[in-house]
């Protein structure tokens, strides 16, 4: 069955009649299950363009649906619903509502790049997954994923200091995602880390926590990077027509 017809045989699209007579012929039994007639009219014709306007999604138009990405996918092996090939198909066809059914798992791409390695068309499916999860968040279909929170905490620190101090990043990430830091496995890990009395390492980490490591003279680089990021965000908001989305939402609320 072609990948795009899969959705037709979902339980909600099927009707089974106990007894059915069509044109005078009794078709009860094996022949009584029918796919509901439906008309798809909620195409988002600019969906492909919108994804292509976000970093990583630029090459989506090159896909010819060979399925090498899904076939090689790390996450697909543990969750068969994680299907990059299918999502790329839906995006190119503009089938937004069908794509939204999987909105909560798309961010789970682990960026192992097996798909990009396997892709014969240089679609960079890994980038398309990132672009799609950004699109879902920017359009307000999903809240920020834990992964996005992590990326933001990490990037903020680099823009500010030029370097990463791990414990600070981890603490901020746990705080921002409202998770408890003292989880049993985390405590066990720290215990085992202390076992070998790594004095040098602990001193180093302790100092790094007190005085965050930074690249000296980073100020001008920091400002240049932040300016560029802001510029890009503005461009993306324009490509995704976010201003209008906000306007419509305001009108809805007012009405």
């Amino acid at each position: 069955m072609p990948i795009h017809e899969k959705s037709l045989i979902r339980p909600e699209n099927l009707t089974t009649h106990e007894e059915l007579v069509l044109d005078g012929v009794d078709v009860s039994g094996h022949w009584s299950t029918f796919i509901e007639t439906r008309v798809v009219k909620d195409y988002n014709e600019s969906l492909e363009e919108e994804i292509a306007a976000l970093p990583g999604g630029e090459q989506i138009h090159r896909c010819w649906q060979c399925g090498s990405c899904t076939n090689s996918c790390t996450v697909n092996a543990i969750n068969p619903d994680f299907n990059p090939r299918y999502w790329i198909y839906l995006i190119r066809m503009g089938m937004e509502s069908e794509l939204l059914r999987d909105k909560d798992i798309i961010w789970q791409c682990v960026s192992c790049n097996k798909c990009t390695y396997a892709c014969p068309r240089d679609v960079f499916p890994e980038g398309v997954m990132k672009a799609t999860s950004h699109w879902l968040e920017k359009k307000g279909h999903t809240p920020k994923s834990p992964s996005m929170h992590f990326d933001e905490v990490f990037t903020e620190q680099i823009v500010a200091t030029g370097k990463i101090e791990e414990s600070r990043t981890i603490r901020r990430f746990f705080a921002r995602t409202k998770q408890k830091l003292a989880q049993p496995w985390m405590i066990e890990m720290v215990k085992r880390m202390l076992r070998g009395l790594p004095v040098g390492l602990l001193t180093r980490m302790g100092l790094a926590t007190l005085v965050a490591p930074r690249t000296s003279g980073w100020g001008s680089a920091s400002a240049a990077i932040q300016e560029y990021i802001d510029e890009q965000h503005e461009k993306q908001a324009e490509a995704l027509n976010l201003a209008q989305l906000v306007e419509t939402a305001k009108q809805d609320v007012a009405a």
Partner: protein, 320 residues
């Protein structure tokens, strides 16, 4: 790409890698400190010079790339710009797979994408340093460094404590080989590294006397990108790697990336605590194993800084 100058034409790779710029990166200053320690110790024991990149910054890692790939390209290019313009060196060695990958990716982008060149030029000018141009610096991994500068034969003649009788699964991870296009020197026939079946780590550890097991998950993913943001997925992926290595007969998993290494260590514990699955296998950086084979004490190569406890095991093998 600029033509190689006369000096590098007459220099063999062996000479060229004897003294390289060293880019440890953020992880090696923290959780991957034992990798930093062991890389330096091995370099010293082999008579190779590492000159740390001056005032380096983060390569951008996966996280900045996710926010904006061109910022990651800029961050990596700044490291290479410092190497060539402020240190006058043309080889930079990064032991961390993430840093190595990102520098390679920046090199590729700057050689092939005009927009990346323009963004890097703009940011470099605003930041007040020279713009890096593709072809000025060669980025290598710690594996390339030892393999080319010393080689298997050179290593064999320096081994003091053979790793004989130690069964090792070599784990390379994702970033060292994928995607293929950023590693033009790989897959170039005999002697070069393979992106589908990498073997440089196998070669070096075999030269140190170890017995490498046939391990099918050499380049599998440990879920390092989501080690904290989607821990259940990472635990599943790591558990699969640990169990497979064990089934292949390995006693040790040798690693070459701080994210993989700490991911394996963390999720080995997490699998034990949340899924009740305990897999007893040792996890060591390949530089730690090489260092001990060269006669260094476990503490010298930071074995006590690993979370996974292998001290008793190493004593049993006569390396403690």
């Amino acid at each position: 790409m600029s033509l190689p100058d006369k000096v590098s034409l007459t220099m063999t790779t062996k000479d060229k890698y004897k003294k390289v710029a060293y880019y440890p990166g953020c992880a090696l200053e923290g959780s991957g400190h034992s990798y930093n320690r062991s890389t330096k110790a091995v370099g010293k024991a082999l008579g190779l010079d590492l000159v740390e990149v001056k005032n380096w910054n983060c390569c951008g890692a996966m996280e900045v790339k996710n926010i904006d790939p061109k910022i990651q390209t800029y961050l990596s290019s700044r490291v290479m710009s410092t190497t060539v313009n402020e240190m006058d060196m043309d080889v930079v060695m990064a032991p961390c797979n993430g840093c190595y990958h990102n520098l390679k990716k920046a090199e590729y982008d700057l050689a092939n994408d005009d927009e990346s060149v323009a963004v890097v030029d703009r940011l470099s000018k605003k930041a007040g340093h020279k713009t890096y141009e593709s072809g000025q610096v060669e980025t290598i991994h710690a594996l390339d460094w030892i393999k080319d500068a010393i080689g298997e034969d050179g290593l064999k003649s320096r081994v003091k404590n053979s790793l004989s009788g130690m069964k090792i699964a070599n784990y390379y991870g994702c970033m060292y080989t994928r995607p293929r296009h950023i590693f033009p020197e790989k897959d170039q026939g005999p002697g070069s590294e393979s992106t589908s079946k990498p073997h440089f780590m196998d070669d070096l550890l075999a030269a140190a006397g170890a017995e490498n097991v046939d391990f099918p998950l050499k380049t599998a993913c440990c879920g390092g990108a989501h080690t904290l943001s989607d821990s259940d997925t990472s635990t599943k992926l790591v558990l699969n790697i640990l169990k497979t290595a064990k089934m292949c007969g390995a006693e040790v998993i040798a690693t070459e990336c701080p994210t993989c290494h700490s991911g394996l260590e963390m999720h080995q514990i997490r699998a034990e605590k949340t899924l009740g699955e305990k897999v007893d296998i040792k996890i060591l950086y390949f530089t730690q194993l090489l260092g001990m084979a060269l006669g260094l004490k476990p503490r010298k190569v930071g074995v006590h800084e690993n979370i996974n406890d292998s001290i008793g095991f190493l004593k049993e093998k006569g390396l403690g």
